[in-house]
Symmetry: D4
Subunit: 221 residues, 8 copies
């Protein structure tokens, strides 16, 4: 590990080597960081890698970071702030499918991350299992996607049904949509992990970012 | 409340008035009771009502109770022990639908209870959402059932899908089938309660009996 | 499934076929949706079905939606926003019973939904088990209701007691009223599911809407 | 604290001073102790106080302890093993009320402990809220008890109802009777703690012993 | 139950009979009720019983209720609002003991309720087990109290220690003071229920009111 | 869906279409099924697909099933019972890495499933983070694997560390190894889902089978 | 215990004896106390011990306390408010290591407390396991620290890895950083307690203060 | 890391370097390992380090391992199996203190591990807080111990009290002793983590081994 591979900012240690190791530069987790801390980290990332991504960032801090690094783009739905273009387009397509309109912020976090990583995205929104024909109407196109990210809150049943219909890998994302017994997404999470359908794996509640990253790493193989 | 309406056995107080109030005599919860306690209670019930039902009873205690009250029938799958015939047949049909072969004991607890209560039962087993076409092949008959009892373990997604397909009331029963994140049925239970499909209600984990009772009370209206 | 049966708005896929399948048009879950999204969905529902219902909506967004679709009615207690009349009156009566004054918002969500669905409602408020005579004074009228929706927070004991008094189906609704060990309604929920009384089923915490829907589907049989 | 007030057995330190401090000698918690350990502790207790009580003891170890200290009495239902008589009778009466036959072992742990402590006990078994008239038939006698111990599993609703009927203190005991959502007694415990009725307090799941002790300390005032 | 025993306000059913049954008029639970609802209920209570108590009420609503019923007293620490004097002084003394300064609001809810009920209170604040000598310095006076209410947050160890020192009944109140593993009071609650000291019972988290009520009912025996 | 695509055995509905849809025939979940039920299902699978796999099967039932279908192989460590060869070898390699010797049964469930599915497996056992050099010694080979299955119990930290070292997708499997705070694998599960390393997804506790399936579906792309 | 050893302020009982017993004067827990209460307690502490420390204090109340006792210092990151210098420097060094930038407030609570207690601190920030080389680059210096405080949120894997690298005691501090399955720090807490690495112990979530105190008590030996 | 530092047994990778890194050879976790696996690992450890320790081992497997490596010693209370003597005696003394007789197995796991590591142990058993004078009688000797391991089940209050009495570091060990609300030790664990006393840290439920290791590493400083 050479000296150049880490930028030591005192409060942060930017891991430049990550692009070599993982294929993509470090992404900044926006929660619990101050705008000026994010700005300093992003400065180092852009200087070295010509691109950067910050997740889970509210509009107010995003605006302040954009003042220092103006050529970025902030999306208030997905709460992603990003700079730069991917070095290459990835082969294949990722379907990003969500159960209800209230799950859109998570779906857009997946879609936006995938686009920043260079992947093609096919969106399919509001096809929850309470009206299964809405999903079955797209059966053909589901089987054509190389990877499927399936997002649902409440009881989180959609990924089981989708996984039963396709051959390619499904990544399930539980969301915190719902109330009472849905326990801020814990119920959907446990349900997806217990699913009887085989061929799916699960990421954290509302973690559209993590699902997108793994989908891209599969496309990159 | 007249004297005759309760049989006081010391360890139990048999509530004969329940037939007048609820339409069916008291049913005996078999867990945590000794065979001779059950035998004494059943004796009083048969004497007054000419029929009795014991739930959640293992084969060994069932055999000992049957020695005292031989004209009953024990089913080792549902673990129900019963005597006597229903006073009348109920109108309509209850569909009892289960997701997997491992859910059969609970499905049979529902079916057996319904038959003892005088209802017609249509069984549909092993139609879990991992192979949704198995369910959709029966779409017509599902819509014809007056009440639907839908039973599933693991992530418990089946009731949501069924409820989305029909107009009549669905009673969902989570089962303890599964491992790890299925938390002995708690995950399926919470999932069913959080379901986005409207028109279903839920009973306790593995409570095929309770679902059957509710279905029969609907048919009796 | 014909083209006409789904309105694709991009962020939502309105399921017009649901009226044919389930007997009632899709109801909009108000949480996590923006006022303009709700407005667009409601526009499609009114155009096709001449009526619409939005649940769990705060006053501010309700007002904005009503600007686009002025012939609706918003109730700040139940947080329901609705348009149009039911196509037919349902036979029979649903009793809506709640344990305490603090449970009123949930009770009114049930009552309001039932009225929108065309059912007759008999309200009985503040009859919790700490003063059981308040309930027993209504014993006669309880036994006359076709379906009973019983709503309680804290320990949620009321549905058990009511179920023991009647023959017709009881739908229990736990509420998030209480503090400490009542765990935002989880305690009442688990208690209702574990109830020793037979003939009741349970819906999600604070889900007065879901209980009403199932009650109406029973009346429709 | 004088030397004589503690018997140091190495693995245990018998607290003889407790009789002076708390009014009753130390009681031995039978779980996780070997028969010979219990025997040695009991030997010291009988020598100094002429009486002893061991709780939660299975029949096999009880038999072995009784070989060393034969003038005791073991009850297999309550799993109590005791020696000696109370130094005085306590004034008043404790009602021990349980919801179902399956709660009997806990009810008998209360009743047996009370008798060993010198209190008069009035037992009332199997009066759970599913048949509320069984309880109301005893309304008069309930109001006459000085302290009421109310025991229930499943949803644990009985103490709320009893507390609403009486003026004197109620001690509620949740039991582990039930399955699924009753979570080995946790649901009944949380329900009793959340109860809307005022004038009751709660002890641990299945802790008939602790409730009896507190009831006796109230009678002793 | 005569007509006069219930005031039906529509949203509430005031249970006037409770004074006869329980010895004290119904107390109003202030959470989740609007100021005008409380005002109406309090009006009926004062008219019939010449006194009233509202718990868990914030200053803003208290002020609005006091405008309608001005002869009451609001305490911002305990959040109690009360009117009228107890019909008689109760014999004996209740010690109200708390572990830390942050537990004061709960301790004052107990003390204020006891005073409204006519009991004498001895306060002992900030004697948590981290400095056990502060508690032991009061050992004498602890043993003189007729009933002890012991209040603690965090790990909730104080009631165990106090119970080991006295002969009279202890009522333990867990508080929501603490962070992280103290889980808003659940840890203290579970700890108190599991306590090895015998002679104590437990009420809900932060329920100083309930403990006071139970203590008063013991003094009233 | 043609008639031939489902074998209806009454207690089971074998989904032959799954090979066409998902690329592999239905796999039998061995828990909660009787030996003769498994035997009947396996008979149908072998007849149609010339191969079959049963998971989570104890030695006793395995032996009984093998009597009916003798050309299979049972492995007592992984508890897998299988027949037949994969139709083709999959390209690439899956590394199966486990933290401790006690995790071997889960690792072998993954490895055995992969072999049955036609994938090449590279095993690396007992490289938990308490001795990180054991893992780092294999750093080169880790980066060469196409997919990595990383298995750990207790705190489940291994997948985070491995994911930080590689570019290709990681599937994490929590195990139930550990005691106390490891909560039968729930702690490892939650930890893996919360991991700060990006590029991994998670399956159910002890679900070596599910991870293998997902890995194979990635290799098949 | 002499009269002088406690300052009784009514709402608080300042334990001056603690310096003799524990080596350091009582520290004030800032949550749930009013500014004037803190001011009074701090007044007594400074008068007797010439120094004081308040933890978990927001800026607003800190400012008000500083008006009464101006020679203190408030740090908005750690939320510590302190006065006075340690009576002696402690021998040795404590390494304070944290996984991510978002964990800084807890790390600074540890570092600030240690400095107030007279210990030398070596800070190492943002060396989480997702980029393990950042940590390994400091392997030498880690082994030189006398005690190591290791702080991490999300899955909390860092302490396991550090403990495996060193010989001296590690105190692990879970933080509430993360979302979804990290359950406000409970996941990191449980993970650290379940760790396979030997030689570490754990304090409460976000309890940088407690870890520092124990580290100092080790240095003081 | 040289070749010699790891013994690769296929199912295990013995980490010989650990003695250099951590000061003590790897200890074998006995749960979930077969006797012959343990025997093989122990063989390598004895060959290289002349000593070995296996934890959590039942008598049956211990006996089989002792056949291969006869010069060891098995203690059925602590379930430790060990060979060899420590290379040097550690300075100072560790007090091992437990609350009740039922906690002895955990206390002996600590004491036995400490002795194998070369530390002097002072045992103090059965001094739980229900009889606080038993503990205070030893106040002097507590303050003399260099490190204190304090072990308790049920509500786990003992470590708080002990920590308040001493200046030196306390390591708290919750045990699974208790029933109902003690949740197999989780309640004691959470209580210890939430303790108001400063200067203690916590290890896993029943982990007497881990506490001993941490204590020895402190003595070794
Ligand atoms: N939304 C997210 N969910 C989970 N992990 C993330 C997210 N955003 C960034 N990360 C990861 O968090 C780590 C950075 O944490 P930090 O050092 O606190 O910025 C990197 O490994 C990122 O890949
Ligand atoms: N308050 C409510 N509770 C539970 N489900 C609801 C509620 N309101 C509407 N729904 C259901 O939620 C689904 C609509 O979700 P969405 O697509 O997000 O609007 C429909 O199936 C509705 O029947
Ligand atoms: N069944 C029981 N439940 C709760 N505490 C008990 C029980 N039996 C005895 N105890 C108490 O447990 C303590 C004795 O614990 P030990 O020293 O382990 O025998 C005494 O304080 C007893 O009062
Ligand atoms: N009783 C125990 N509790 C916790 N960790 C242990 C215990 N016994 C051994 N260990 C640790 O477990 C690891 C060995 O795990 P394994 O490779 O499965 O033998 C070593 O790091 C030991 O220090
Ligand atoms: Mg929708
Ligand atoms: Mg099947
Ligand atoms: Mg009321
Ligand atoms: Mg009964
Ligand atoms: Mg204090
Ligand atoms: Mg190992
Ligand atoms: Mg970082
Ligand atoms: Mg003892």
């Amino acid at each position: 590990m050479t000296e150049r591979s880490i930028s030591d900012l005192g409060f942060a240690r930017v891991d430049h080597d990550r692009e070599a190791r993982n294929g993509v530069p470090e992404v900044v987790f926006g929660e619990g960081k101050q705008a000026d801390q994010i700005s300093a980290i992003v400065g180092r990332l852009i200087a070295r890698h010509q691109r950067a991504l910050v997740t889970r960032l509210d509009a107010e801090r995003a605006e302040r970071v954009l003042r220092d690094h103006p050529h970025g783009h902030y999306d208030p739905i997905s709460r992603l702030l990003c700079w730069g273009a991917p070095p290459r387009r990835l082969p294949g397509t990722v379907a990003v499918i969500c159960a209800g309109t209230s799950d859109l912020p998570v779906a857009e976090e997946s879609a936006g991350t995938l686009e920043w990583l260079g992947a093609d995205v096919a969106r399919l929104n509001d096809v929850g299992v309470a009206g299964i024909d809405r999903l079955l109407a797209h059966r053909e196109s589901l089987t054509r996607a190389d990877v499927l990210i399936v997002i649902a809150g409440m009881e989180g049943a959609l990924p089981s049904v989708v996984t039963g219909l396709v051959r390619n890998p499904v990544i399930a994302v539980p969301t915190s949509v719902g109330y009472g017994a849905s326990l801020q997404g814990v119920t959907a999470l446990l349900g997806m992990l217990s699913a009887c359908a085989t061929g799916m794996s699960v990421v954290n509640i509302d973690n559209g970012f993590g699902a997108a990253w793994q989908a891209a790493s599969i496309l990159s193989l």
